[in-house]
Subunit: 228 residues, 2 copies
C-alpha cells in the first residue's frame, strides 16, 4: 500500500465532510483536496437528486455537475448508491457527537437529545423536494437501503446508550427499555421529515421542535417533564 | 341524472370497500357489482404496486389483472393517481370511525386511539414491499400527494376532535394543543411504517404497539399514564 493509498484508507470519513481537519499540515494538502472533491461530488449529487429523483441521476450527471472526470467518481464511491451512504455517515456523525457529549456528562441528556433531533433534520430540511427524494431513494433501492440500515443500526445502539445515561442521571424514566426509546427517536425524526416533506411549511426545525417536546414528555422521569 | 348514476354518485365510498351494505336489496345488485369491481381494481393495483412500484404500473396492467376492459377503469377512477386515493379513503374511514366512537362516549379515548393506530397500520403492514411502494408513490407524484394530503387534513381535524374529547374526559393533558397532538399521531404512524418497512420484522402491529405506548405516555393526564 502506498503512503497516499494508506492515507486515504485511514482517513476518517466524517472528517471529509465536517471540515474537522485540525491535524492536517502541508502533507495533508492532497488529503484535503480529496476531501473537497468527495464533498463536492456528494453535494452535486444531492442537488441533482432533489431536482430529478435518485433513479434519474447518472454518475456522469454527477461528475459533470462537479466538474471532474467520470473515472474520478469511482475513486471516492464504489457505486452510485454509495453517494447516499455519505448522507448516512453525516447523520451517524451527529449521533456519535451526541453519544460523546452524553458520556462526558457536562450537558443534560435533555439538551443532548434535543440538539440531536434538530441536527438530524438539518440536511433533509433544506427543501421538501430534497427530503422526499432522500426518502424515496432510501426506499427504492435495495443497495441504498442496505448501506443506510447498517449505519442506522450503529446509530440506534449509540442512542440507546445516551438513553441509558439519561436514566442513570435521573432524567429519563428508568422503567423504559433503552432500545425501544432509541427506536422511538428514529421514528419521530423520520415521521416528522416524511409528513413535513408533503407540507413544507413552516420550516422543518419548527416541526422537529414540537416532536422533541412530545418525545421528551413520553420518556422523562415522572416529575422531570418540562411544561407542555 | 339516471337512477343508477344517482345511486353511484351518492354511494358512500367507504361502503365500497368495507362491505358494509346492509341496505342493499335486489335493486342494489348493480351497486354491489360496481363496488366489487372498484375494490377488485384497487386490490389488483396494490398488488402490482408492491411488485413493481407505482410508476411502472399502467392502467392496462391493472385492468388486465382485474380481468375487466381498459375503459372500465375510468368508470371508477379519474386517473391512475386516484387508485391510491382509495387507500386514503380507507384510512380516512378508520379515523371517522374513531371520531364517532369518541363522540358516543362509550369507550375510553385511550382505547379509541390505540385501536386507530393499529388499524391505520393494517394495509401497509401486509408487506414491507407494499409499505415502501405506498410511501414512495405518495412522495413521487404531485397528483397522488394532492389527493392524499387533502384526505389527511380531514383526518387530522377529526383526530384533533378525539383528542379534545380525551381532554374533556380527563384522560389527556388539557394543556396540550389538540392539533399538535393530532400531528404527532400521524407522524408516529408514518414514522413507524417507514422504519418498519426497511426492517420488516417483527410484524408492523408489534412496532405500532410500542409506538402507541410511547405516544400515550406523552399525552396522558399526569397520573393517568399506564405502566411503561
Amino acid at each position: 500500500m502506498s503512503k497516499s493509498q494508506k492515507m486515504r484508507a485511514t482517513l476518517p470519513v466524517l472528517n471529509l465532510v465536517s471540515g474537522n481537519q485540525a491535524d492536517a499540515p502541508a502533507s495533508g494538502r492532497r488529503q484535503r483536496r480529496a476531501a473537497e472533491t468527495r464533498l463536492r461530488l456528494f453535494r452535486c449529487a444531492l442537488q441533482l437528486i432533489a431536482e430529478r429523483g435518485f433513479p434519474s441521476v447518472t454518475v456522469e450527471d454527477i461528475t459533470e455537475a462537479a466538474d471532474v472526470g467520470k473515472g474520478t467518481f469511482f475513486n471516492y464511491f464504489a457505486t452510485k448508491d454509495h453517494v447516499l451512504g455519505v448522507m448516512a455517515e453525516i447523520q451517524l456523525g451527529k449521533v456519535r457527537k451526541a453519544a460523546s457529549l452524553a458520556s462526558q456528562g457536562k450537558q443534560a441528556i435533555h439538551a443532548v437529545l434535543h440538539r440531536l433531533m434538530l441536527r438530524l433534520a438539518e440536511e433533509p430540511g433544506r427543501s421538501p423536494d430534497l427530503a422526499r427524494a432522500l426518502i424515496s431513494s432510501f426506499l427504492a433501492s435495495a443497495g441504498v437501503r442496505k448501506i443506510i440500515v447498517g449505519r442506522m443500526l450503529e446509530g440506534h445502539k449509540m442512542i440507546a446508550e445516551v438513553v441509558a445515561a439519561g436514566q442513570k442521571r435521573d432524567e429519563i424514566d428508568p422503567r423504559l427499555n433503552q432500545e425501544k426509546v432509541a427506536t422511538q427517536l428514529l421514528q419521530a425524526v423520520m415521521g416528522t421529515i416524511l409528513l413535513w416533506s408533503t407540507h413544507g411549511e413552516p420550516a422543518l426545525k419548527v416541526w422537529i421542535e414540537d416532536s422533541f417536546q412530545h418525545f421528551w414528555r413520553a420518556i422523562a422521569l415522572p416529575g422531570q417533564e418540562k411544561k407542555p
